[in-house]
């Protein structure tokens, strides 16, 4: 395998992927769903085949464009139709409600309460502060989102002006 040829194929693969990911939107990698992650892995594997000349540049282009096109079309359809979105997307799972663990949620995600403790800690919420959490959900991208009770939220400008009026 000639190094110069590998370099040309690497640059070509890089440029084609860069252009496709750019036009397909930001979701392909950053904070994506598990399926976005799988797509990114599949695209990376195809570059390997191009680099070592196992496939030609035309077949590589057709393969990566077809996968990206399918992904973009599915994203578009689910944005347009809530029913399609329910079919395609994973649904968020409630793990904490009113400061209490939700056993059904833990069971569904095969998590222990120690895992939830770690996830909330990453959000800056220690176990002792769970009582201030209205709801915490494991979102479809695998990240935890937490909604604090109104009493636990930091004061905002309208709260201050309301207090001053009193």
């Amino acid at each position: 395998v000639e190094p110069g040829h590998v370099a040309v194929r690497a640059v070509l693969g890089y440029l084609i992927l860069l252009a496709l990911v750019r036009v397909a939107g930001k979701r392909v990698v950053a904070e994506g769903t598990p399926f976005d992650f799988i797509l990114a892995l599949a695209l990376g594997d195809m570059v390997d085949d191009l680099l070592w000349a196992d496939v030609g540049a035309a077949k590589f282009t057709v393969a990566v464009a077809t996968l990206t096109l399918a992904h973009t079309t599915v994203s578009w359809v689910q944005a347009a139709s809530p029913a399609a979105a329910r079919l395609v997307n994973l649904t968020p799972t409630v793990l904490l409600k009113d400061g209490e663990l939700v056993p059904a949620g833990l069971h569904a995600e095969r998590l222990r309460d120690g895992d939830v403790e770690a996830l909330t800690r990453l959000r800056g919420i220690g176990r002792e502060a769970w009582r201030e959490v209205a709801a915490a959900r494991l979102e479809e991208n695998g990240m935890l989102s937490a909604l604090l009770k109104p009493s636990a939220r930091s004061a905002q400008r309208k709260d201050r002006s309301r207090a001053r009026r009193r």
Partner: protein, 136 residues
Amino acid sequence: VKAVAAVLGVAAVSLALVAWAVFVLGDRTVLVPPPEAVAEGFMRQLQTRRFEQARSYLARPAVRSAEGLRARLEALERAVGRIQDVRGRRGTVGSLDASAVADLTTADRARAEVAFSLRREHGEWRIADLDGLPLP
């Protein structure tokens, strides 16, 4: 819809550039798998008994049945031993014809080689005949 059209546009432009490089500039080894990669790929498909996939490496007149390829592989393995590794090596590269060699390493570390002649079909190299493989 704009994103879908943009993906199609990027694919069309990329394919046009590749076609220009292959058919106008005459690229035969960079954006298409070079002859040695084709010879190696073909022998690897045979080695792993994927005879249907191996057929896709053959030029039109050389396309054989999967059973025919199996018989050729068995004849080769009777002669040299069970194939363990394959490496492609470039021979000559012309505008329409090329040659390449598949260097084989057998299970008992013996070495053998199979020579192939190749022909360009639709811009890609294909194995033109199986004369390098022994007849069953």
